[in-house]
């Protein structure tokens, strides 16, 4: 809707006594010719709903603004600011290197353990932060949900997107580490964006579903940190998948993060891809995304009433 009036600039609005003349400026007029079909129909919807992707697209700018808000606000009033995005995976890597690499002697597929662990932690930190923040995002946005309409999926979506910014910062450290250890870049790096996409989609699918459940069952808030911790040990973050006996290894494939984390290492460190593991991860990720989107849509109707 364009604003054609220029009178407004000429007559800055005086506050105390708004006069009626001002109504002539800014003239919009009644909407001419209403559409034949209603723009919006509000009806009770039982059961499963359509995803309304068009609606989601119309609100893409809000997704951008909420992401931007999350990023801006996250490190406000912290002394170290964005450095936290680096400190988290870096120090975890140092500790893991010390305990698992040196003391326990966990193998690392012939790459230096620090860089092996950091690659895994980079992916894992992004994923775990994303599902934690998005899992709590709806409950934390109760004031929005009860006061204004927009597609609710944007809230957990923005939380995941904000995690990408931290991921990008920590990625710089990985590049520095690679230079330090003299790890060369191979054509495998072309798969890197695919890995990021897969992680994002998996985080979105998981986070969205958890956030919706969290509205109804606040237990999720307590389950989350616990689940994230367990999940990490069940993913090849601090150990290579090859470390496990063959039987367990195929079981580990059911964890979509297995293929993804190994995929990151292949992309960055030039190791061969395990295409089967990747395909399984991608399939599970996609199924999870579809399931959780529909399940989110089903649950979202009651958000405003119970949040």
């Amino acid at each position: 809707m364009g604003i054609s009036s220029t009178n407004n600039e000429a007559a800055p609005i005086s506050t105390a006594n708004p006069t009626r003349n001002r109504t002539l400026e800014n003239h919009q007029g009644p909407p001419e010719g209403l559409p034949e079909e209603p723009l919006v129909v509000i009806e009770p919807n039982g059961g499963w709903n359509a995803l309304e992707l068009r609606d989601l697209w119309a609100y893409r700018e809000l997704l951008y603004f909420l992401t931007w808000r999350d990023v801006k606000v996250r490190y406000k009033q912290t002394e170290l600011g964005v450095a936290w995005a680096i400190i988290q995976p870096l120090f975890t890597m140092l500790i893991f290197t010390l305990f698992f690499g040196r003391l326990a002697g966990v193998p690392s597929d012939n790459v230096p353990y620090p860089i092996f662990a950091f690659t895994g932690l980079l992916a894992w930190t992004f994923f775990s932060n994303a599902i934690t923040t998005s899992g709590n995002s709806l409950v934390g946005s109760a004031h929005l949900i009860t006061k204004v309409y927009f597609p609710r999926m944007i809230i957990p979506g923005a939380a995941v997107a904000a995690g990408l910014v931290d991921f990008a910062i920590a990625f710089v450290i990985l590049v520095l580490l690679m230079i330090y250890y003299g790890v060369g870049i191979t054509w495998n790096i072309l798969m890197f964006p695919v890995m990021v996409l897969l992680t994002t989609v998996l985080a979105l699918g998981t986070g969205m579903w958890l956030s919706a459940l969290n509205v109804k069952y606040r237990d999720i808030r307590f389950v989350l940190p616990f689940m994230v911790q367990l999940w990490m040990y069940l993913s090849p973050v601090i150990y290579p998948a090859s470390f496990l006996p063959a039987k367990l290894r195929s079981l580990l494939l059911l964890n979509p993060m297995t293929g993804i984390i190994e995929g990151y290492r292949s992309a960055m460190l030039g190791r061969p891809f395990n295409w089967i593991a990747l395909a399984v991860s991608a399939a599970i990720t996609l199924i999870l995304l579809i399931y959780s989107s529909y399940s989110f849509r089903r649950m979202e109707k009651s958000f405003a009433d119970i949040v």
Binding site: I3, P31, P38, V40, P44, F65
Partner: protein, 426 residues
């Protein structure tokens, strides 16, 4: 003409009761799932509806393009629920709404403001949350800032704003929304008188621009001056729909008409409030203006009657009233001890007495009031104090001008004499 909003058989049912109104826990859901079939077996057909309430029931209305509709009703009548359904925040249980235009709803001023972000950043964030596009905010940015008068503080985090500044910025953003249908909840209930005045001024602008507006308010003067039409909701259903003046009058006389002469009566001396010395028989508020017996306005003189039984012959009793405003501030204290000096020296025989306090017009300000009755013995000791359940509402004058319809601050609203004269030349 074809309506821009059409609601048919709209209903919204809420589950009440502590369990479901609050959130469930997984454990409860699991135990529920196990118990429910057993309970159903025990109580035969166990589908009970006692835990639900219809916040809206069978609501039908059409709104024409350009119409400004006021929605009135007592608290809990379903006004906010209706707005929430219309703005797609919550889903109706029954019925259907068709919207033939872009909707923006303003159920709160400053939705989504983040305290850590600056004024400038919040303009963008809040604008986006209310449904504005980034380019739209860019073009309106200067006007929003002008309207808020906060240029100097644009780069200050809003957590350092005073609440007045916060409201000003929030309203500045909200008032630059340009949807075809605007839905506004009681935003005017917050802020000081000047802010309210500004909001209402903007509202009347929006209204005269030909936009369709649905507007909930408890401010009857605002409703009457902004809206041609009003919907009166009562118990979730439409009680009246028509011209704003008529609907407001019906609503007021229904809700408060009888209350301007409301009373509490205790016919039985044994159970009446009091003690061995005195028992109350009746307290009552009466309008003294025959013409406006519908409701009390700031100008109406009225009186409070207190009837009581004196049980101790020879006692010297006087009555004192403490008059409270809605905010629980004592507006003033008045007593028959000094108000009726001749009578107050008498010793009363046992019997039923009535003491009346006459309140002139132009005394109390707009709002709801209540009072405490104190029975005083020998002009010195309080022998009984009663917090009356009678409340009475003082309404604003109908004829007050548009520019003045916000409630003026103050406990009292006296009609004082003023005079201006020139006392010298330059």
């Amino acid at each position: 003409m074809k309506p821009i909003v059409r609601a048919t058989t709209l209903g919204k049912q809420y589950t009440i009761g502590t369990r479901e109104a609050a959130y469930d826990t997984l454990r409860e859901s699991i135990t529920q799932a196990v118990r429910a079939p057993i309970r159903r077996l025990r109580s035969g057909n166990g589908k009970r509806n006692v835990d639900t309430i219809w916040a809206l029931k069978d609501v039908n209305f059409d709104v024409q393009p350009g119409e400004v509709v006021g929605i009135i009703g007592s608290n809990g009548a379903g006004k906010s629920t209706l707005l929430k359904v219309l703005s797609r925040i919550t889903e109706p249980t029954t019925g259907r709404v068709e919207l033939y235009g872009r909707v923006a709803s303003l159920l709160e001023v400053g939705t989504g403001f983040h305290p850590e972000l600056t004024g400038r950043e919040n303009i963008y964030l809040n604008g986006a949350i209310l449904g504005m596009k980034k380019t739209e905010i860019n073009t309106k940015f200067n006007r929003i800032v002008d309207f808020s008068e906060l240029e100097r503080f644009l780069d200050t985090p809003v957590k350092r704003y005073s609440s007045g500044m916060y409201m000003r910025l929030a309203f500045a953003v909200a008032s630059h929304l340009e949807p075809e249908i605007l839905i506004v909840d009681e935003v005017l209930a917050v802020g000081d008188a000047q802010f309210q005045k500004k909001c209402l001024g903007k509202m009347s602008d929006v209204a005269s621009e030909g936009r369709t507006v649905l507007f909930v308010s408890h401010n009857m003067i605002a409703i009457q001056s902004l809206c041609k039409r009003a919907l009166w909701l009562e118990g979730g259903a439409i009680a009246d729909d028509g011209g704003a003046g008529t609907v407001v009058r019906n609503y007021l006389s229904h809700s408060f008409g009888n209350k301007s002469s409301e009373e509490e009566v205790w016919p039985d001396i044994e159970t009446a409030p009091g003690n061995d010395s005195v028992r109350l028989h009746r307290v009552q508020v009466r309008s003294l203006d025959e013409a406006s017996d519908q409701h009390l306005t700031t100008r109406t003189p009225f009186c409070i009657d207190v009837e009581y039984w004196n049980l101790q012959p020879g006692a010297n009793l006087t009555i004192t009233l403490h008059l409270y405003t809605e905010q629980q501030v004592i507006a003033f204290t008045t007593g028959s001890g000094s108000g009726d000096p001749e009578w107050s020296r008498r010793n009363l025989p046992a019997g039923l007495f009535r003491t009346t306090c006459y309140m002139p017009g132009d005394l109390l300000n707009v709002g709801r009031h209540r009072f405490n009755v104190l029975v005083i013995k020998d002009l010195s000791s309080v022998i009984y104090q009663y917090e009356s359940a009678v409340t009475f509402e003082i309404f604003d004058l109908d004829e007050r001008a548009l520019s003045q319809y916000a409630r003026e601050p103050g406990v009292v609203k006296p009609d004082l004499k003023w005079k201006t004269e020139q006392v010298g030349a330059l």
